[in-house]
């Protein structure tokens, strides 16, 4: 984990050095990593979009960190966002609350993601930054652009195990949410 002082800074939230966004040579190892990351992301958004919320926590490690916040909050160094979890158990609690406790109209999402920009880290950790758009489809048929933003992910790519998110920061471009945010992003 980064030092607590900088854990919410824009620099860390980006997780990537901007100069690495420039075109670069790709090795065979990078190709494999890229495919693994893309596959994880594709399965992640599919679980959310297909209402398999019970599978959602399994995309994370036990002691994961999941934060939904806004670009503005991060830019100002402010730590609080809309959803915050520090374990897979907290994610499971959220799913159970959405299923059994919270009252909201039936709705679905359709996530669209751009190819991730990936940077290898240490200890099998890969950093990936991925742009997304989420369209929300209400039970009435009303369909709207709900949120856009980026995932700033730290992913554990361990050959012995399934790739999982160690840390996922969902950085929303806008601070404004239509009515409510029930299903995770």
């Amino acid at each position: 984990m980064p030092k607590s002082g900088d854990r919410f800074s824009e620099k860390h939230a980006l997780g990537l050095d901007p100069k690495n966004h420039a075109p670069t040579k790709i090795s065979a190892m990078d190709v494999e990593t890229t495919f693994k990351v893309q596959d994880l992301l594709a399965r992640y958004i599919q679980a959310l979009d297909h209402d398999r919320l019970e599978d959602w926590p399994d995309f994370f490690t036990d002691s994961c960190r999941y934060l939904v916040t806004t670009a503005d909050n991060l830019a100002q160094g402010m730590p609080i966002g809309m959803i915050y979890a520090t374990s897979r158990a907290m994610l499971r609690d959220r799913v159970r609350s959405l299923r059994d406790a919270n009252v909201y109209e039936a709705q679905r999402y359709r996530h669209m993601i751009a190819p991730p920009v990936i940077e290898r880290g240490e200890g099998g950790i890969v950093r990936a930054q991925t742009s997304f758009m989420v369209v929300r489809i209400m039970h009435t048929g009303e369909t709207m652009m709900f949120v856009t933003g980026r995932y700033d992910d730290r992913i554990l790519l361990d050959d012995a195990d399934t790739p999982r998110f160690v840390e996922k920061t969902v950085v929303l471009d806008s601070r404004q949410i239509d009515t409510l945010l029930a299903i995770p992003i």
Binding site: S4, V68, T69, T70, D72, N73, Q76, M78, P79, I80, G81, M82, I83, Y84, A85, T86, S87, A89, M90, R92, D93, R94, S97, D100, A101, N102, V103, Y104, E105, R175, Q176, I177, D178, T179, L180, L181, A182
Partner: protein
Amino acid sequence: MTVAVRQWPAEGVARVPYWVYSDRDLFADEQARVFRGPTWNFLCLEAELPKPNTYRTSAVGAMPVVVTRDNDGKLSAFENRCAHRGSLLCINERGEARDIVCVYHNWSYDLAGNLTAVAFRKGMGGKGGMPADARPDENPPRKLRVETLCGLVFGTLDSNTPPLEAYLGPEIVKGIRRVMRAPVRVLGGYSQMLASNWKLYMENVKDSYHASLLHTFFTTFRLNRLTQKGGLVISETGGNHISYSFAADTGGKEYEKAGMRAAQEGFGLEAPEVLAHVDEYGDGIGLQILSVFPTFVLQQTRNSLAVRRLVTHGLEKTELVWTIFGFTDDDEAMTERRMRQANLIGPAGYISMEDGAAPGFVQRAVNSASDVLSVVEMGGRGITSDDTRVTEAAVRGFWTFYRAQMGF
């Protein structure tokens, strides 16, 4: 809508006619009588203007407003509208500035909202410019009277508005002083766009009766104690209120036990630490929702603290703006606690999620029922304080003060 239809029902505030949420003319009248009338509107936290020569934008009802802190630290607020052609003066949410310069034609203002310079007023090379007898500040941005209380900045446009503390009433002042116990540190913000009239959200805030019925998070996870003591305080005017309850536990351990026991039954939270809190006020009160007419909310949900204000974009379009805060003396553990408990509030909040939707449910149903009345008789027909929350007295208080402003 004819004036005749605007007769308030004979039953008084125990009835609310549905036309109050769907009448376009009424929405326009409210802007003048409520928001620009003799009321105090919450603008921002002082902590949002931490340095001299800074500004931030806010709103009073639908009117855009600029709040400034000048070089001497003095706060001012004025309409965000140029005296010239009516453009917004500040187009950013916040910034640093020694003067405010309109982006359109470069007319300049000081941080109190006084016009100080008109670009090319005398023209160029003897041509153009304004006539010698022109009065460019004939229609200046309207200035607000500003008062602060414990770091909360309020503004009013009406010279008849009583001083802030008199407007709030002594119980409400006490409730504000209680929560705002130290210098503030802003921890985050966001907003929700609600498809409903602004009054439906404020009724929801003042409706202490719905809390345990609509919000089933606590009951589903068996975290609620039916014996929780609490009550309702209503200001003498009816317009402001406090709803409070004592925390069911003492320091989090009982919740863990409850979580474990309930978990065996397949219910409790797997990770009850999301609610782990400390009694930072030392009075055992775990929840205090405070509102000030027309659209201010101060919320303490355990260690989760926030101010909320409404921007009335339209008859059925209301923006709920949240600013989440802690105090400058918070240690890292307290900040972490506030972060976790923030899961209870906001658009994704375990508790607050439903409050974004419920006003819309009413709006959609009553748009075609403008001549029908809603019944508001829980806890009787009065607006007095009570030691129960199974009452709609604060909702009736809202309507009492609202009617006084609107003249019906």
